[in-house]
């Protein structure tokens, strides 16, 4: 059974086709038509919704994933348990992936008699013209606003009323100085780059976003966050991950053992590691995916382990997290990842998904090859787990063809850190050339990693994407 919160309503689905998308569920099963279909390919953002997910800060220990999340995503003020709000494209998200999460749609944002502050900002700044893209923008704005840490104390008011307006920023802070505006503009471009508007030219939307980021106030989601967390945790704790039911063949293993078991039981099931490409088989090529196994709840695959000289990055780590992880080490990796799809895609897409997909225009492969990354591949034969390590440059064989064997999964990516050696300077440069800065496919992508010893190039590794049938 798939269980999630649709806004505040608990939804329990026992039977469905595995490839039902969130958008189709909303529009055709629930007639919640505020969420629009613009392209059904994850490229326009009209279908943007927000997913709230419990995040446990206390269980980080040596696992960096959540610590990194806590720096930049969601709110950090609550201590042990917080909700992280992420904008995603509902058209390329399968409903089963919402298990244990809260799906927030545009219909739910406003209170009984007043608009949510991000909606209000859009109205004030004339941010809508035809209005069709607007719900998607509103949801991305909402996710953007939720990234801003709360300065003041959290209200303990658990009531779902709209009366308790608390301004989070001290008064007098309403006027934006230009430095703030510039800094905010980068976040705005990052969060809204995956939402296309054909009418406004974006300027009023940028102004609405600036207002949303400056004039914060406690909303109904803040007020009910504890309740929501409890409800979601209850789902997660009560979940029976055996999923033997064939009435909803969408399987959610929590650990590698369960994953291998499911893979042997359902050898034809498709592995879902984000699905921003896989879902296109359904929405664009009109195929059916009768059985799906979700990888992104397998905790071993979500892990990031930091060693002295490298990261061991679980294959189900999202591209958003990867961005945050690599940004301090490789500035060009940050630049590249900021232009990897859109925020919605990066929240869903995973490093392993991009590597397994092996598209010649994939954004990560050139960089992984240049950095001399390697892949940890794993397969269960009978009851033994076999692991092998393949260098990234030997992994990509031909157009969408890799060294990955049937039944094998990518467990993690071994990514070297730029360790300082005396007298050696290392630098990664990545050049992604596109028609358009945001959310575009590489015309060509070039990644170059050089080592300079006494200002002489002692080592150079270079890889090109978008150039031939593989990277």
């Amino acid at each position: 059974m798939i269980q999630f919160l649709l806004n505040n309503e608990l939804v329990e689905l026992e039977a469905s086709n595995a490839d039902l998308t969130v958008l189709d569920f909303l529009r055709t099963k629930r007639r919640l038509c505020g969420t629009k279909e613009g392209c059904a390919s994850g490229d326009c953002g009209a279908c943007t919704v927000v997913v709230a997910e419990p995040m446990s800060v206390s269980t980080t220990e040596h696992i960096l994933t959540d610590k990194i999340e806590s720096k930049v995503e969601g709110k950090t003020e609550c201590g042990a348990n917080v909700l992280r709000y992420q904008n995603i494209n509902s058209c390329i998200t399968f409903l089963g992936a919402l298990h244990g999460k809260q799906l927030i749609t545009v219909e739910h944002l406003s209170g009984k008699d007043r608009l949510h502050s991000v909606q209000e900002a859009m109205v004030t700044h004339h941010g809508s013209q035809c209005g069709f893209c607007t719900p998607g923008f509103v949801m991305s704005l909402f996710a953007l606003q939720k990234t801003i840490p709360i300065v003041n104390e959290v209200s303990n008011n658990d009531h779902d009323s709209d009366g308790g307006k608390t301004t989070k920023n001290p008064p007098g802070n309403q006027k934006l100085d230009s430095a703030n505006a510039k800094r905010h503009r980068a976040s705005i471009d990052e969060y809204l780059g995956g939402n296309l508007c054909r009418c406004t030219g974006y300027r009023p939307i940028i102004d609405a976003a600036l207002q949303s980021m400056e004039n914060l106030e406690h909303d109904q989601f803040d007020r009910s966050s504890k309740k929501t967390l409890n409800r979601l945790n209850a789902i997660r704790h009560s979940s029976d991950f055996s999923f033997k039911s064939s009435r909803y063949p969408f399987y959610i293993p929590e650990n590698l053992a369960q994953l291998h078991e499911l893979m042997s039981q359902f050898p034809d099931a498709r592995l879902l590691a984000g699905g921003t490409d896989l879902a296109l088989e359904v929405t664009q090529q009109l195929k059916s995916l009768p059985e799906i196994i979700l990888l992104t709840e397998v905790h071993e695959l979500k892990r990031i382990v930091e060693e002295d000289d490298h990261f061991e990055i679980g294959s189900a780590v999202s591209l958003s997290k990867l961005l945050d992880l690599l940004a301090p080490y490789y500035p060009d990796a940050k630049e590249l990842l900021l232009r990897f799809g859109s925020r919605q895609v990066r929240n869903q897409g995973t490093i392993g998904g991009n590597v397994a997909n092996a598209s010649p225009i994939g954004d990560l492969p050139p960089m992984l090859i240049a950095l001399n990354a390697s892949l940890v591949l794993q397969k269960r034969i009978a009851s033994t787990i076999q692991t092998r390590i393949v260098d990234a440059e030997n992994y990509f064989l031909d157009y969408r063809k890799t060294d990955l064997q049937p039944g094998e999964i990518i467990q993690s990516i071994h990514l070297p850190k730029p360790v300082l050696e005396s007298g050696v300077k290392k630098q990664l440069k990545v050049y992604k050339i596109t028609k358009q800065f945001d959310d575009d496919i590489s015309t060509i992508c070039s990644a170059i990693h050089i080592e300079l010893t006494d200002n002489v190039i002692s080592s150079i590794r270079m890889a090109l994407g978008g150039y031939g049938s593989n990277s």
Partner: protein, 766 residues
Amino acid sequence: MSDNEQIVMGPGKKLEHESASKHVTGKAIYIDDQMVYQGQLFACIGGSQIAHGRITILDLDAVRSAEGVIDVITAKSVPGKLDIGPVFPGDPLFTDELVEYWGQPIFAVAANSHEQARKAITLAHIEYQELEPVLDLAQAMDQSFYVRPPHRMQRGNSEQAIQSASHRIQSKLLVGGQEHFYLEGQASAVIPQEDGGMLIYTSTQNPSETQKLVAEVLDVPMTRIDVVTRRMGGGFGGKETQAAPWSCVAALFASRNQCAVTCRLSRKDDMVMTGKRHNFINHYDVGFDDDGSISGIKYTLAGQCGYSPDLSDAIVDRAMFHCDNAYYLPNATVDGLRCKTHTVSNTAFRGFGGPQGVIAAETVIDEIAFELKKDPLEIRKRNLYNTTDRNQTHYHQKLDSFTLPEIIAQLELDADYWNRRKQVSEFNATSPILKKGLALTPVKFGISFTVSHLNQAGALIHLYTDGSIQVNHGGTEMVQGLMTKVAQIVAQEFQVSTDRIVVTATRTDKVPNTSPTAASAGTDLNGMAALNAAKTLKYRLTHFLSDKYQLPAEEICFKNGEVQLRDDALSFAEVTKEAWLGRISLSSTGFYKTPKVHYDRQTASGHPFYYFANGASVSEVLIDTLTGEYKLLRTDIIHDVGNSINPALDIGQIEGGFIQGLGWLTCEELKWDNQGRLITDGPATYKIPAISDTPEVFNVRLLQNSPNSEATVFRSKAVGEPPLMLTISAWCAIRDAIASVEGRTTFPQLHAPATPEEILRAIHRD
């Protein structure tokens, strides 16, 4: 402004879009959000898989027996007229034999779900006898392969003027097309009525034409067909003629199966099956003197129309009308070619051919400046029209009013053009790889349908006894806030708050025989029609009160939401109630036709435009000469909207038009393969501007104290299309940057769109 001294919520206010709160909460209803009816079917279109040929086998058995399929139709299923060409014939709803573009509709399926219909389409077995297609505009030009005959506009003797000029340039410019990419794709929902009638909810700019075409296809009188359009999720010209087929298909299914039918195109079908902005090849041959004054020019403007005429005659005409842009051409010969190719039929798109003409004019100016080593702005100003001696266009219309000299003068100061020109030169002198460019370009855009009879509009106003006002008119709400502006106009006339007014969905049964909402004329036409209806009602109310209270009419004054009667005052609700009790008709139509407009094709002369809308922009760009990447750094705009009815909405149109134009001229590139199949068929490959394309410095200002010299509604000016052409400054700035590359001796031939690849090509092209 108007005779009314007190403005309540009327013109001039930055009133928010009437649907703004509904947009942000998801409560605004678009076609596919409509309630589902019991037994409703969903239609999908099956298109050809070749560009040109004859169908030899059409086997749809597998389609018919696919899961969920209820009905399948082809050309043979059409009881009435098969051809739905809007002006000239040539657009069959389904082709029965001859295929003329890849994706041309051949059949349609109705199934129990959208997905079932889409899947069934793929099961068709169709064989063709292929014919050699003409896919390329240059090839069509060479073969004189046209959908309509060429047209020529001429003034003076350009040949002689060019010959005797001290300088001469002959060159050409390729201008790309553009996909509309309205976020809401084409959609229509049809519900059968009594007696073979149909109620149609559809996303169209042209409800009356949909009504007419559905009636013809079904072979019923127009009285049986009601078309309703509440709003569109974007139109931009793409729903002027291209919206009708899907209503026709849905109506056919609805008629055959007596159930509600929705036909909504997937994004891919929408991009493959509907027309786009015309791409052009513009040849120019210009003679000019040492100071840069143009003495004579010859243009050949060739538009790629696709397989059928659609609106292409008027579109190529408009390109011809605008190849002067803001410049006086003492001797000019302009030939316009309507080239036929085996591709989808290109159609209206914001600017309607005008932009393709304007960009040619600006290229000519830039090239003259490069040739004479002068600043392009100097050449622009030298060639500008005036209202005294250099005031006649090449189609012999005289300019009575021309605000561009004032706009340019203000913008030079606002944008600090000359200082920045110096800074750009200094930057470029020390930056070998990154180069900056700067350009100021003006726009003069003719307002009116050039097909004169379309310049008419109707409105219908009902006053109810509670004092609420319902307004209806022939214009459609697509983006622009037309309903908001019309409400403001009516509010102004009655001197009431817009809260009292509801402008309802556009309906063919309320206001008949309407023109498409196009040519930027939505407010000019419908606003005036609504105003006329309001005046009629106000006259009736005034005279009723005058009789009842025995007061001269002059002493009855509509003000502050009430009606003042010498010493007394009645609320607006009391007035309507009293008038009803007094048996006064509280419903009135209003009508308007644009004066002064005419054009004679035989002599290629006349007064096709009621007036001109003007604006100018300055853009500064940065390009990378190694990769061809570019960034728009800053844009300043001053635009003339006359007396603005709603400055917030007008600025929205200007900014939106500018960024849409930026897409047309930079990142939006349509590509077909060598078989004529569109390969940029989704947003993954066809890139419209995204949020980071909006320049960090983007100053947009309305020209102040500039009422329209013509008696338009509240002396406002149309604003829908003209701002799209303001983007030409960004494109010219890219060329300016390329021209600054060291060692450059020839004028950079930059075609549109200026993608990074094209910028690189232009850098290396001699």
